[in-house]
Amino acid sequence: MIIGYVAGEGLLHRAHPFTSLTIAAGVTLLAFALPGTLSPWVLAGMLVVLAVAAGLTGAVVTTLVFSAPLWVFLGIIYGVFGTDWAVAAVYAGRISAILLAFLLALAAVHPGRLVDALVARRVSFAIAYLLAATLQAVPRLQHRAATILEAQRCRGLRTGGSPWRRIRSIVPLAIPLVQGALAEADDRAVALEVRGAVSGCARTPLSPPRDHLLDRVVRWGTVLVVLAAVVLRVVT
């Protein structure tokens, strides 16, 4: 299950980093702005097609894994108890579409290229780096959590069994995770400092992302569609 950047040469990888992020933001707004029960699902469907075309079917799988329990939950709350299946469907559709859009953006956007794209637009390196580091926070934590889990299991930590035991087993996993992450943040601050990141010089982009005409068309197109949907929603 993959959350975070996946190396590749597909459609979205070749696009400018801002394009994938604009699509993700656009889908989020459209999921709320478009009328009708099925519209979030249409959005999700379009994203699935995009995912397959871009060679990122893993993101679809991850979305399913995380969304399916939520669908059941929403179905129970709004469908069974509230007898309003339409609302359940809308919420489920929105969650799935938004999740898939962001997973696709995370998978296709190389943090280094994002930083270069931001710096080329005159965003300060510090802010750009922070943004890129945030995008990577989840896969890094995932990897670290897996390592810590192994270490504690080798000391006899049982992770299965009763709910109470499962809850108690979180402490020896969570604490090294958090402390490790904090210590790593300190070390990373040192590393950035010694590797010239505070030099005040304009950073040389190593592989500056090219902004094709198609990228600009897609981004502006997305903005226009969102605006149109919002206006329609307000007017009707």
């Binding site: 190396a7 890129a132 070390d187 040192v190 400092e193 950073r203 040389t204 190593l206």
Partner: protein
């Protein structure tokens, strides 16, 4: 003179004792210095203080004067002036990853790119550093998939690629197997041709033969400073537990001090 300490003391935030106590010394270009002592003696802290990372990143208070490449690294202007001029290598290579590079080549290029060099210059320096560090074959690998030893050499290449005027290295061979460690240490005198190289390490056995000078710390204070044969061959070093194995063997064999500090030295002294 690359680094000068005058009466420097340093205490970490919340600590009961000073990590550095009244340290006065200087490091010169052209010299490889081993900074050693028992665990917790203050060697890593001394490097961090010379680089200005202590107190700027670590917190804490520093008294006394530090002059690194002509500026005080504790001041804002000093830090700006030193950006990219000091090659610092920490003992834990994976914590120094930029997090922005998906190939080793880009990881090594991270520092030079931050300094705003043009792409041709970056490419040349990266190519050369990777060659010297013996990691050219890893150029297209994802840094996250490297072993500890490979990563340490890649980080070393990253430091060299910035062409610093001063090297401050903390256990640079900690993750390397003995053969690779030997190769790295052999490189140090080349690095020191016109700059100071300071290595903090407990690997005295191997480094005794390679360095020009040894500074020994104990509880944050300088207790010895001189040529390796003198500092590490002294009875005091054996007592403190900082002497090389050959010296310990000689001591236990009843030989009077100063003891030989390497096999080669012992052979010269005692061969027929």
């Amino acid at each position: 003179m690359s680094v000068r300490f005058a009466g420097v003391s340093f205490r970490y935030p919340g600590a009961d004792e000073d990590a550095l106590r009244n340290v006065t010394l200087a490091f010169q270009p052209g010299e490889v210095t081993l900074l050693t002592g028992t665990s917790g003696a203050g060697c890593s802290t001394l490097l961090l203080t010379a680089a200005g990372l202590a107190p700027h990143v670590t917190g804490g208070t520093r008294t006394g004067e530090v002059d690194t490449l002509g500026v005080d690294p504790m001041t804002e202007s000093g830090r700006q002036a030193l950006a990219g001029r000091i090659g610092v290598l920490l003992a834990t290579p994976w914590t120094q990853l930029s997090g922005m590079a998906y190939t080793v080549h880009d990881e090594v290029a991270f520092g030079p790119a931050n300094l705003g060099w043009d792409r041709e210059e970056i490419r040349a320096h990266v190519h050369e550093s990777m060659k010297v560090a013996g990691v050219s074959h890893l150029a297209q690998r994802d840094p996250r998939t490297l072993s500890g030893g490979e990563l340490q050499r890649v980080m070393f290449a990253g430091v060299m690629a910035m062409a610093p005027d001063l090297y401050l290295l903390d256990e640079p061979a900690a993750e390397l197997d003995p053969a690779a460690a030997g190769d790295l240490y052999a490189m140090l005198s080349t690095l020191a041709l016109d700059r100071a190289v300071v290595v903090a390490s407990t690997d005295v056995d191997r480094l005794a033969e390679v360095v020009d000078r040894v500074v020994e710390l104990e509880h944050g204070a300088v207790v010895a400073d001189g040529p390796p044969a003198v500092v590490l061959g002294a009875a005091a070093a054996v007592e403190r537990g900082t002497a090389p194995t050959v010296a310990v063997i000689a001591h236990r064999a009843g030989v009077p001090p100063d003891y030989p500090t390497s096999v080669a030295m012992a052979a010269r002294r005692w061969s027929a």
